[in-house]
């Protein structure tokens, strides 16, 4: 009788600039399953890791926002293809992390993939829906277009490890922003696995960066960082949100306030998150012969 096979475990690391570094601090923390069993030692990101992630997101912004909307749509759709391909893995990850049934986890993963597809299709429609030509009283062709806000910090929801995460990350990048995501502190594994999908898709390095670690330690670094243009506080619960919003005033950050407790992430998202981190630019072009 052969010995039972010993499973090869995965190391869960940060995702910065398309690479998977450990925290430069050398720290990690224990993540358990919903039932309390050990799952992994996850990288405990430091302030320096957070700053590195912002540098990566800033560096990726010019290329990502200059790519054609059609190209961005295809890149994001490719992510959905890979998610579908690895859905079994995500169902397991969500089931373990959230302690839900396989059926519930499966429904969550399906909704997350469908949500990614929904936002992938928005890249080349956003300007048509959010832009306008404006009938000014004068010889000008006056038009308004949505442009990305820039580098967005995202505090991921803590009540939905994959669907919630996709629901806040995908609209920001579909609108041509680049992001630094703070994963759900206590249940980050589906997020890290998503990062592994991103790394093997066509999303350029630095467009989406993922940090794991204590939100109370990392979120203030991003909220007060002067090279972060906006912050989505979706997962900043209770007393944490106010100080983060106040810190964001340093450089007049665009703020998306926390999702209401009990928010149903499976609900039709509409366009509100897509429009949250865009800047409307209006151009007066002369008309004449």
């Amino acid at each position: 009788m052969p010995e039972p096979r010993v499973e090869v475990r995965k190391t869960y690391k940060l995702f910065i600039a398309g690479a998977f570094p450990r925290s430069e601090s050398g720290r990690s923390y224990v993540v358990n399953a919903a039932d309390g069993t050990f799952l992994a030692n996850v990288a405990w990101a430091s302030r320096k890791d957070a700053r590195d992630a912002v540098v990566a997101a800033r560096a990726a912004l010019a290329g990502w926002s200059a790519a054609t909307a059609y190209n961005r749509g295809q890149v994001l759709y490719r992510v959905a293809e890979l998610l579908e391909d690895r859905r079994g893995q995500f169902v397991d990850a969500v089931r373990e992390s959230e302690g839900v049934t396989a059926r519930t986890a499966s429904a969550q993963v399906s909704a997350a993939i469908d949500r990614w597809v929904w936002y992938a299709g928005w890249t080349d429609k956003l300007a048509q829906v959010a832009g306008s030509t404006n009938p000014v009283a004068g010889p000008y062709f006056n038009f308004s277009v949505p442009e990305p806000t820039g580098v967005i910090a995202v505090v991921a929801p803590t009540d939905s490890t994959l669907l919630g995460l996709v629901s806040v990350v995908a609209p920001a990048v579909a609108a041509a922003n680049t992001v630094v995501v703070l994963a759900d502190e206590h249940r980050p594994l589906p997020a890290v696995t998503l990062a592994e999908v991103l790394a093997t898709s066509d999303v350029p390095a630095g467009v989406i960066n993922l940090l794991t670690g204590p939100i109370e330690e990392l979120a203030p670094v991003l909220a007060s960082h002067r090279d972060v243009d906006g912050i989505d506080l979706a997962g900043a619960a209770g007393d944490l949100a106010g100080p983060l919003e106040a810190a964001g005033a340093t450089n007049i950050k665009r703020i998306s306030r926390p999702a209401l407790p009990g928010h149903d992430w499976s609900r039709d998202p509409g366009t509100s998150r897509l429009l949250r981190f865009v800047e409307i630019k209006t151009v007066w072009h002369p008309i004449g012969t």
Partner: protein, 488 residues
């Protein structure tokens, strides 16, 4: 390419006989209460202050310093109107009130222009031709939206936010009141408006207009006062929305104060706009645009073109032509219809301008102003041009909010973009070139909320206005302007 010829410099301004606008059309009261619940009332917290004409230091009227209990009363009045008649009123009825207000502003346009010029110090030509007509147009534009909100792209039956606290600056007092009130009312909100300390009068005339329009009591409340009144208003627990136009410094404090509350916020803050002139630009037109960009309203314009970026090959010509043009500007009595440059709005603002101009000189930039006699009374500053400016100079980085232009040069479009975007602000930018494709390429790369091509400082109620970066967020004007007051 032809280089424009520069006429000899012994050019002088034409002589004109004085052509003062009459003040007869305006009947100011010696003192004003607060406009709460549809009537002028005495304050609960007491306190008055005088508003003076910056061009003569003449006291125009005494107005009330609203205190915290007055803010309570105004917010309660706005809440009652929101929960009452205004909140229940169908959009088509709200719409007609806004049309009435637009018409009343048109009917009383001369009176409004006179009061604005007296209280603010801006030339009557500007208040008559820009501020007042645009204010009327803004109400007229948003009036038509009130019953069409289902079609505005914010989902079916978008809801108003509730009570809006609105704090406005002194540079375009009536126009900023219109920018705040018109979209808020069209979307079904009620308002408490705080005009600037130094320019309360046109808002008080507007209150009279609201009475003539028979706008239901409490829908708009107007509180005069200083910064402390504004601070009590924006931090009041009874409001649902804060809209502020003013400095980035104050905007930052307001953003901190609404953090962690349910209040929505839009901010229209400072700027340090680049006005970029390429060698192929229509130079005569560009010089007019540069003048309009920075000397319009004495440079008291958040989107002013305060940094001139001119392509090196034409820099000398442009600066020479600019100086020649500035020599013809007429500075003086704002009530004179021929005046181009009026008074600086306050002593405080004049001191700020002087401090920054002195910093420009001490940091090594080259200062120039046309020969120009400043009136003895009032607060004045001559049109000023700095050359030899480096991007690190304070005059190239900080908002001066006065008639002071910093000239820098560039060699390539890439350098122009890099220099233009090298600022924490992002409100506006200008591009001057005959090449349409270049206009669009530059507009694409400039990080600014408004890009004017072959024009500058042009406004329209249909055209969204607002900043990128530390110039604020939210838009005023156009369909987008509705979003600032809807729960969407």
């Amino acid at each position: 390419m032809t280089t424009p010829t520069v006429p000899t410099p012994e050019h002088t301004a034409f002589e004109y006989a004085p052509a003062p606008e009459s003040r007869a059309v305006l009947s100011l009261q010696p003192s004003y209460g607060l406009f709460i619940g549809g009537a002028f009332v005495d304050p609960l917290d007491g306190g008055t202050f005088k508003t003076v004409s910056p061009s003569s230091e003449e006291v125009l009227a005494e107005v009330t310093q609203a205190g915290p209990r007055d803010v309570d009363a105004a917010v309660a009045s706005a809440r009652a109107a929101f929960d009452g008649p205004w909140g229940r009123m169908p959009g088509r009825e709200r719409s007609k009130y806004l049309f009435r207000i637009a018409r009343l502003i048109q009917e009383r346009s001369r009176e409004l222009a006179v009061v604005e010029t007296l209280d603010n110090g801006k030339p009557i030509r500007e208040s008559r031709d820009v501020d007042v007509p645009l204010a009327a147009a803004h109400f007229f534009y948003y009036a038509g939206w009130a019953d069409k909100l289902d079609h505005a792209g914010f989902g079916p039956s978008p809801r108003p936010l509730g009570v809006a606290g609105q704090v406005i600056p002194w540079n375009f007092p009536l126009l900023m009141a219109a920018w705040k009130l018109a979209p808020a009312l069209a979307t079904g909100n009620t308002c408490v408006l705080k005009p600037a300390e130094t320019t309360p009068l046109s808002a008080l005339v507007l209150a009279d207009i609201l009475q003539q329009a028979e706008l239901p009591p409490g829908v708009v409340n107007i509180l005069t006062g200083d910064g402390s009144t504004g601070a009590s208003l924006v931090s009041h627990e009874g409001i649902d929305k804060v809209a502020f136009t003013g400095s980035t410094e104050v905007g930052r404090r307001i953003a901190e104060s609404v953090a962690g509350t349910h209040k929505r916020l839009t901010l229209e803050l400072g700027g340090k706009a680049a006005n970029i002139v390429f060698a192929d630009a229509p130079i005569d037109q560009a010089v007019e645009g540069i003048v309009n960009g920075i000397f319009f309203n004495q440079g008291h314009v958040c989107c002013a073109g305060s940094r001139l970026l001119v392509e090196e090959s034409v820099a000398e010509t442009v600066v020479e032509m600019l100086k020649r043009r500035l020599a013809t500007l007429r500075l003086g009595d704002p009530m004179d219809k021929n005046t181009d440059i009026g008074a600086i709005n306050s002593k405080e603002q004049l001191d700020r301008i002087i401090a920054l101009v002195n910093a420009g000189v001490s940091e090594g930039a080259d200062r120039w102003s046309p020969a120009c006699t400043l009136p003895e009374r009032g607060w004045w500053f001559p049109p000023t041009v700095f050359t030899d400016v480096s991007p690190s100079h304070r005059i190239a980085r900080e908002e001066i909010f006065g008639p002071v232009l910093s000239v820098l040069t560039f060699r390539t479009p890439e350098e122009a973009v890099a220099k233009a975007n090298n600022t924490t602000y992002g409100l506006s930018a200008g591009v001057w070139t005959e090449k349409g494709s270049r206009i669009l390429a530059m507009a694409d790369q400039l990080r600014a909320g408004v890009v004017w091509a072959n024009t500058f400082n042009r406004f329209d109620p249909t055209s969204p206005f607002g900043g990128f970066k530390e110039s604020g967020f939210g838009r005023e004007g156009g369909r987008h302007g509705l979003g600032a007051y809807l729960d969407a």
